[in-house]
């Protein structure tokens, strides 16, 4: 679950990290009032969406109080912001963060992640702030400084100080940066984050501010932080993906026209790759999981049938814990309930395959069973393209 910039800053500010003065606004008049209340010459309006690259996409506006702030706000609010990370459909903007504009003397990158390789919480910092960390890693990797935190000792004061002194020679600034590092680490650990990032952390005169912040919570640990659900912004998440999650499914929308149901994430990815290898284009990634019930399979099928782009459905199941007969019952149930006549290509293998096959054959629905995975993928691609298929 991702937090908005203003929510991330709220967590930081509550722990004593300085952020620019400002407030969150939900309509243009409110935005104007908030801007005037800041009593400074220049303000910045920042669209609150779960995406980076907002500036380039027109989601950030630096304005003087003389300009038409209310007009600009109504231009951005209610729009869908399309950035290089959102895909063509963009993300709706329902809130603007209005902030004072600070003088920036230096920009620093600060991020906390869990390093998969070492299994340690790792703090990354760079004097090349303002850029994406991926970009810094590519162009000037020598400017990324990291510290790995021992899980039993936690972050020590000297580690934070040592890192701060690599970013500045000024004692006062180093003290503040060291406090920010410690705070960001504490937030990461206490909220089970998958990412906690301040970019840029700016030096402005003799003070340090978090100018932008991005905090993502790990979904698997949300049960420990039920209060954070209040901060979930459903408008930023895909509706089909949301309803799939409610059903215990893992669903991701893609751009094509072949609906896919697969068990297991790895096999699901391999199935998508196989479809594209045959020249087709999948409409989604959908993993029904290892131990899906008949109802879960039916729900999965219904999600695909709700998607109007889908021209053909491909079901690829390697039954382990999920039995083929359970799968067949779920699929048949959904097809009968939804009365949809889409062509369905099924390739099943594994536990209780005979029973699954019999159920499909006796269902009298437009379902084709194909034994070979490669053939099945080829046929579903041809079907979606409306070609006649032999065999």
């Amino acid at each position: 679950m991702n937090l908005h910039e203003f929510q991330s800053k709220e967590l930081l500010a509550a722990r004593g990290v300085a952020v620019p003065r400002g407030s969150v606004c939900y309509d243009p008049l409110e935005t104007l009032i908030a801007a005037r209340r800041l009593k400074c010459d220049i303000v910045v309006l920042k669209a609150q969406v779960h995406s980076g690259g907002r500036g380039k996409a027109g989601g950030v506006a630096v304005m003087s109080l003389e300009e038409d702030i209310r007009g600009k706000a109504s231009e951005i609010l209610g729009k869908r912001l399309v950035t290089n990370q959102t895909g063509p459909q963009g993300k709706p903007v329902s809130a603007l963060l209005v902030e004072e504009v600070l003088q920036v003397d230096k920009e620093i990158y600060l991020g906390v992640v869990l390093d998969r390789k070492t299994g340690k919480v790792t703090i990354m910092a760079s004097p090349a702030g303002g850029m994406d960390i991926e970009e810094i890693a590519k162009t000037q990797p020598e400017k990324i400084y990291t510290i790995a935190v021992d899980p039993l000792r936690g972050l020590t004061g000297y580690q934070a100080r040592a890192l701060a002194y690599r970013l500045t020679d000024d004692n006062g600034i180093a003290g503040q940066i060291s406090h920010v590092i410690t705070t960001l680490y504490q937030i990461f650990v206490s909220y089970d984050c998958s990412l906690a990032e301040i970019n840029p952390l700016v030096i402005s005169g003799d003070k340090v501010y978090a100018l932008d912040a991005k905090i993502n919570l790990d979904d698997h640990a949300l049960f420990r932080h039920p209060e954070m659900e209040l901060w979930r912004d459903r408008s930023q998440e895909d509706q089909l993906e949301l309803s799939a999650r409610k059903d215990g499914l893992s669903y991701i929308k893609l751009d094509g026209d072949i609906g896919c149901i697969v068990n297991g994430a790895g096999l699901a990815m391999a199935t998508l790759d196989l479809i594209s290898l045959h020249g087709g284009s999948p409409a989604n990634f959908l993993d029904v999981g290892g131990g899906a019930s008949e109802q879960v399979v039916a729900d999965a099928m219904s999600i695909l049938l709700d998607d109007r782009r889908v021209k053909a459905v491909f079901i690829n199941i390697f039954g382990g814990i999920l039995r083929c007969d359970v799968l067949a019952r779920g699929v048949i149930k959904a097809l009968k309930q939804n009365r949809v006549e889409l062509p369905v290509i099924v390739r099943i293998e594994g536990t209780n395959i005979e029973e699954g096959r019999r159920l499909f054959e006796e269902s009298q629905l437009p379902i084709r069973m194909i034994g070979s995975l490669d053939d099945a993928a080829r046929i579903v691609v041809e079907t979606a393209k409306g070609l006649k298929t032999a065999g």
Partner: protein, 295 residues
């Protein structure tokens, strides 16, 4: 001898009286695994179809000489059972549980490594050695057959797909191991390749990777440096994945320029690994590789 588990492994199941724990303990036993006990606090003295249940892992180890554990404990509580297994002296810990908070896994893994034990998983189908008739996991046993191919994978059902193909091509397996699909797991490709290199029964290896992280690139580096010298084929899932999306496996997040399928394929090919583009061709590619090396 296969790797990590064999016919002499003495296996317990933590969480044996739960639905999955019971089902899979019995399936492992039916496959031939030496299931010597199970652990569920408060149920010592009971038995699960002849497998004795103990209150603690230490009791189970003392009574049965167990050295391997299969863990089926819900994600919210799965960290402690790993630590309990380590403290009781278990050598190989197989954690099936999916969705453990990554920081919990990370902190348990720290102890596992300090004590020099093996953690397979979490979020793994487990490990199976067909020649040794030993299965410690949830994979369907019947698709496997004994033979010379080692299989190491980050995925579950995708591994079944590949193993099924190998078996249908007459290629049996020495050991098949799922590393686990979570961001932090106990073993890496490199760890497993080291073991396969030392295992005389393993003549070739199939690596099944996916987008995210850098485990495949590290494996490529290891092979290139001469750490693994047997024939190897690889398949990488997720060439189509949109950046930043989580495709089921938490491990499969790609961001920026790292962890893409393309980069992994390039690294593996540079290390002399045969990378298979079409998942349905892994079996025949492996057959050809083995035929070549026999010449």
């Amino acid at each position: 001898m296969a790797i990590l588990v064999n016919r002499n492994s003495r296996v317990i199941c933590q969480g044996i009286t739960g639905r999955n724990g019971k089902f899979h303990s019995l399936a492992c036993k039916a496959y031939g695994t030496n299931m010597v006990g199970g652990v569920t606090p408060g149920k010592q003295g009971e038995s699960v179809d002849g497998i004795p249940v103990f209150n603690t892992v230490l009791n189970a180890v003392n009574e049965t000489g167990a050295d391997t554990s299969l863990i089926f404990i819900p994600a919210a509580h799965a960290k402690e059972p790993i630590l309990e297994a380590v403290d009781a002296g278990i050598k190989v810990i197989v954690c099936i549980t999916e969705g453990i908070p990554p920081l919990d896994t990370a902190s348990a893994l720290h102890t596992v490594r300090e004590e020099g034990r093996y953690l397979i998983g979490p979020n793994t189908p487990g490990i199976i050695s067909p020649p040794e008739k030993c299965k410690v996991g949830i994979m369907p046993g019947y698709i496997h057959s004994p033979g010379p191919v080692g299989v190491v994978s980050r995925s579950g059902t995708l591994t079944y797909e590949v193993v099924d193909q190998l078996t249908k091509h007459g290629l049996g397996q020495s050991t098949c191991l799922g590393l686990g699909g979570d961001p932090v797991v106990g073993m890496s490709f490199v760890d497993v390749l080291k073991l396969f290199q030392e295992d005389p029964e393993t003549e070739a290896v199939v690596l099944i990777g996916e987008i995210g992280g850098s485990a495949e690139e590290e494996a490529a580096e290891f092979i290139k440096s001469g750490g693994f010298t047997k024939p190897a084929a690889a398949y990488i899932a997720g060439r189509l994945a949109p950046p930043g999306k989580r495709m089921g496996h938490a491990g499969a997040i790609i961001s920026g320029g790292t962890g893409t399928a393309h980069e992994k394929i390039k690294a593996l090919e540079a290390a002399g690994v045969t990378v298979v583009e079409n998942i349905t061709r892994v079996g025949e590619v492996m057959r050809d590789l083995l035929a070549q090396s026999a010449r």
